[in-house]
């Protein structure tokens, strides 16, 4: 009996991947809902998979089944201990499988209300950032650090043998041979056959009877022709160095899109643990989002109270400094860093600022000047998240009672009208981070540049 043992381990795995994508697409609505609800409970930097359960409607596979609870029928069970004929056993409560399992074989967890499975990190983030886009994204060419990409670019006459393009070379060889009238083997064969035939004819008749001079002359002629052809055949090479063509590759400079994200956080005494935690979540989301859109993202951390310091990520989130608040100090430092290290031609700059909104009143004019003169003309997008006090009501966008607003809020509010790339939002609890984030970046976003275009259109119509 024949047998084969085959090692299939090297075969591609992930055959089910496209089925899985189909499934995720189908369950998208529920997934998005759940993820947006649960995202705040999880740290976004968690590597690895996200276990998620979704309602089964829409992903059920119904079929006709017998309902084991109904009808009048008998069934067999194993493991009788002390029942005798005529005993009665209480039916299991509705819903519980209990003893009577006949015909109710449910496959793959059917019958449950929730379907649980795992999403990979990429699948997860895809859904989190779905429908979001970065405003004002530009591909910028980094001239000093050029990234080269090789592309195919036609053929050359010189090159390494490994890049020999046989098809192109043979086309040229064929063309050259035709042009030079390279004799075909067939032609020589034909002549040889003709000679053979003529010689046969000569042999057929005795020389005395018929001299066949005509034939002899023809043979001589043919022989000469064959010789000529053979010479030619030898003289014209089948492949000549001039036929050869090699695949050519050319290098092109590749535009790279880079972004620098400056996180500015107030670490003055008024910013407690909760405020920092909320800011951190917002920054992380922004970072992940930028990372997906740009090839490289630099992150700069600036913390400030009355003076600003550039620091590492750990220091940024864990430092326990206290002091007063001079917000402009942070912005001035950001401005210096952007000017010195990140030229506008190469980098897309984003600034994310988080604060509780407290600032010295005397600092407000300086802040405004810094923003208007230096920062806002340069940055692609400036997000300001104000962490509202624990018991303060969060307000709708731009709609809260004026007296509740901090000085900074008022300033940013007024600047927003002029500078649509500056947006601000208040956040009170973790659950609001995602909605706020989505509002900042959703495709039909609240950025008022959009609003102004709408206005323009209506004006045109009129």
């Amino acid at each position: 009996m024949s047998k084969y043992i085959i090692d299939r381990r090297k075969n591609p795995k992930g055959k089910s991947l496209s089925n899985r994508q189909r499934f995720i697409r189908r369950a998208k609505k529920h997934l998005t809902e759940r993820i947006h609800k649960n995202i705040v409970k999880r740290s976004i930097t968690d590597k690895g998979e996200e276990s998620i359960s979704i309602p089964t409607d829409g992903i059920q596979e119904p079929s006709f089944n017998n309902d084991g609870k109904t009808g009048d029928y008998d069934f067999v069970l194993p493991g009788n201990q002390d029942f005798i004929k005529g005993d009665t056993i209480e039916k299991p409560p509705a819903g519980g499988g209990g003893g009577a399992g006949q015909g109710e074989a449910s496959d793959s967890g059917g019958g449950e209300d929730e379907f649980q499975f795992s999403l990979t990190r990429d699948e997860y983030l895809d859904i989190v950032f779905e429908d979001l886009e970065l405003p004002n994204l530009e591909e910028k060419n980094k001239e000093n650090v050029t990234v080269w990409e090789t592309h195919r670019s036609g053929y050359t006459t010189v090159g390494s043998p490994s890049q020999l393009n046989i098809e192109q070379s043979m086309i040229r060889s064929l063309g050259r041979r035709i042009a030079l009238k390279f004799p075909k083997r067939k032609e020589i064969d034909k002549c040889e056959k003709e000679i053979e035939r003529l010689e046969k004819e000569i042999k057929h008749y005795k020389e005395e009877i018929k001299p066949m001079t005509k034939n002899r002359a023809e043979i001589e002629e043919l022989k000469l022709k064959i010789e000529r052809l053979r010479k030619r055949h030898k003289a014209i090479p089948f492949i000549d160095p001039i036929d050869l063509r090699f695949n050519n590759f050319a290098k092109y400079p590749k535009p790279t899109s880079s972004a620098v994200m400056v996180c500015i956080m107030d670490v003055s005494a008024s910013m407690g643990e909760r405020e920092k935690e909320l800011s951190k979540r917002f920054f992380l989301l922004l970072y992940l989002f930028l990372e997906r859109k740009y090839e490289n993202v630099d992150v700069i951390f600036i913390r400030h109270h009355t003076e600003a310091i550039e620091c590492s990520e750990e220091e940024f989130f864990q430092s326990k400094e206290t002091g007063g608040t001079v917000v402009s100090s942070g912005l001035l430092l950001a401005n210096t860093i952007l000017k010195e290290r990140y030229s506008q031609a190469e980098w897309n700059a984003y600034i994310a600022q988080a604060s509780d909104g407290d600032n010295f009143m005397s600092d407000i004019p300086i802040l405004e000047e810094t923003l208007v003169k230096h920062i806002l003309p340069v940055v692609k997008f400036y997000t300001y998240v104000e962490i509202a006090g624990m018991y303060e009501q969060t307000r709708g966008f731009w709609s809260a009672a004026a007296h509740a607003h901090t000085g900074m809020w008022k300033l940013y509010d007024s600047l927003h009208k002029q500078w649509p790339n500056l947006v601000s939002k208040k956040v009170k609890e973790a659950g609001e981070i995602i909605p706020v984030f989505r509002e900042f970046f959703s495709k039909s976003s609240t950025i008022s540049s959009m609003n102004s275009t709408v206005v323009d259109e209506t004006e045109d119509n009129e």
Partner: protein, 502 residues
């Protein structure tokens, strides 16, 4: 003293080869098995998960439901709720056996004995498989199905293909002809004929013909198009008669029912098939040990896996989920062997034709000529009923209690055996639903009838399945559950005609 085949735990390809040969020797020369050529394929656990998601078939068309199954299996596996199966075997010629690379050599040996010989022999010899499936063409057919569906997706869009398939899947258990044997699959011919026919019709199409007045004969013919006999194969009926399906949609219906038909014998022989494979591996492993080819350590490991597979909780234990087919089947074959070798007076009375006979012959006879229902009816012995402490209960919708009808005593054996056999009949696994009537001329309503055995109603899913039927049929669909002439429940869809699947 023979040296053992191996002493370590790891397997290698040469070792697999040796082990296979040792198993083969016992299987063919001692057990007298008759098998298809074997193809052993070593796969990784990820590939095993992939195989799970497609019912164990090596290739399957694409559909989200397989992705759902995959995601669920993956989650369970990664979280450690369930282990993976040690093997998957495919009823094809050559017979494809998947061995998982994580298995130890002892497990691999068990798997080879179990699948490559036990299941393989069953596939090749059992009458249901011989009559109903075509092992040598199934892989070709699956390739065809996969490509065809992919083409449809490219041509008509993924969404609509998915919708048709969803609806077909809902009816897949009702895409089986239980009595009419299918013609053997011959993919190439069938496909070529179908395209040729279509091409021809397209070429000769001429709109003028439509304008010719109809002759009397033709008119009469048209009138005679009426529903004739009830049809148990709903998908078949839809494929042939649906007023709204297009060519390619009919082909999809056909694919789903063909594949469904391929699995039909497996529903009916779960206990026997698993039982026979388990019995085979148990016998082969023990014989290998007796011959000195397996070490005691390997045997201990084998018993551990074997008993894991054989776990049968009693009805009141946690995790009870019906009968474990491995356990029931194995015990029954083991019992046949016992009745042949050491028959008691009781056995002689119950099984006069083989008590004291040749166990090999009797087992092979059983494998060839029975399915679960008839196998239990024929071979379940009082000894086994006592061993498993079987008892029957009566369920009545109106009662609050189950009533114990019979227990494992001399008055109960016959009835217990009868009831258990009935539990494995097709109608208790798949509700008996047939196309009762179809109004071809007016209204085009489709009527289905559910013959409720013992008054068992359908689960709530039924209403949703009907909407799937309507999607394929296009017009109103009704379903009545009938028990002893009385309608116990009826369902129906809306009556808005839908002229195409959109």
């Amino acid at each position: 003293m023979t040296t053992p085949l191996y002493t370590g735990a790891d397997w290698s390809f040469p070792l697999l080869d040796e082990v296979y040969n040792a198993c083969e020797d016992i299987a063919l020369n001692d057990l007298n098995l008759n098998v298809y050529p074997n193809q052993l394929e070593v796969i990784s656990s990820e590939q095993m998960l992939d195989a799970y998601a497609s019912s164990g078939l090596p290739l399957y068309y694409k559909h989200w439901s397989f992705g759902k199954q995959f995601s669920a299996e993956e989650q369970n596996y990664r979280k450690g709720y369930t282990g993976l199966a040690y093997e998957i075997v495919i009823n094809s010629n050559p017979c494809i056996n998947y061995l998982m690379e994580e298995n130890s050599i002892t497990t691999q040996t068990t798997v080879i004995a179990h699948a490559a010989f036990g299941h393989n022999h069953f596939f090749k010899n059992n009458y249901l498989f011989r009559q109903w499936t075509d092992a040598s063409h199934i892989i070709d057919y699956l390739v065809f199905a996969k490509n065809y569906i992919m083409e449809c997706e490219e041509r008509h869009g993924q969404r609509i293909v998915e919708q048709v398939l969803d609806s077909c899947h809902a009816l897949s258990k009702h895409g089986i002809s239980k009595y009419k044997r299918p013609i053997k699959l011959n993919v190439y011919e069938e496909r070529e004929q179908a395209t040729e026919r279509r091409q021809y019709l397209r070429q000769i199409y001429n709109d003028l013909w439509r304008t010719l007045p109809k002759t009397k004969k033709q008119k009469e013919k048209k009138k005679n198009v009426a529903f004739s006999d009830p049809e148990e194969n709903i998908l078949y009926f839809i494929e042939k008669n649906s007023p709204i399906l297009t060519d390619w949609q009919r082909e999809l219906v056909r694919i789903v029912r063909k594949i469904s038909q391929y699995f039909y014998p497996q529903y009916q022989t779960k206990v026997m098939n698993e039982g026979w494979a388990t019995f085979s591996h148990h016998y082969i492993m023990n014989t290998l040990h007796d011959k000195g080819l397996l070490t005691d350590g390997a045997m201990l490991e084998f018993f551990h896996t074997h008993s894991g597979v054989m776990y049968q909780p009693t009805f009141d234990q946690k995790g009870y989920n019906g009968f474990n087919p491995y356990y029931l089947g194995f015990e029954m074959f083991k019992d046949i062997k016992r009745v042949c070798e050491e028959p008691t007076a009781e056995d002689k009375e119950w099984f006069p034709d083989f008590a004291g006979g040749d166990w090999r012959q009797t087992c092979l006879y059983a494998v060839e000529n029975f399915r679960d229902e008839s196998f239990i009816r024929q071979f379940l012995s009082p000894t086994l009923i006592r061993k498993m402490h079987l008892f029957t209960l009566n369920n009545n919708t109106n009662a609050n209690h189950y009533i114990v009808k019979d227990i494992h005593n001399s008055r109960g054996y016959k009835s217990i055996r009868e009831v258990l056999a009935n539990m494995y009949s097709i109608s208790s696994m798949i509700p008996d639903i047939e196309v009762a009537d179809a109004a071809f001329t007016s209204g085009r309503q489709l009527s289905l009838r559910h013959n409720a055995t013992n008054g068992k109603a359908l689960t709530e899913d039924a209403q949703e399945v009907l909407t799937h039927v309507k999607r394929l049929w296009g017009y109103q669909v009704k379903l009545q559950s009938v028990s002893e002439g009385a309608i116990i429940k009826s369902y129906q869809t809306d009556s808005i005609p839908q002229l195409e699947i959109e």
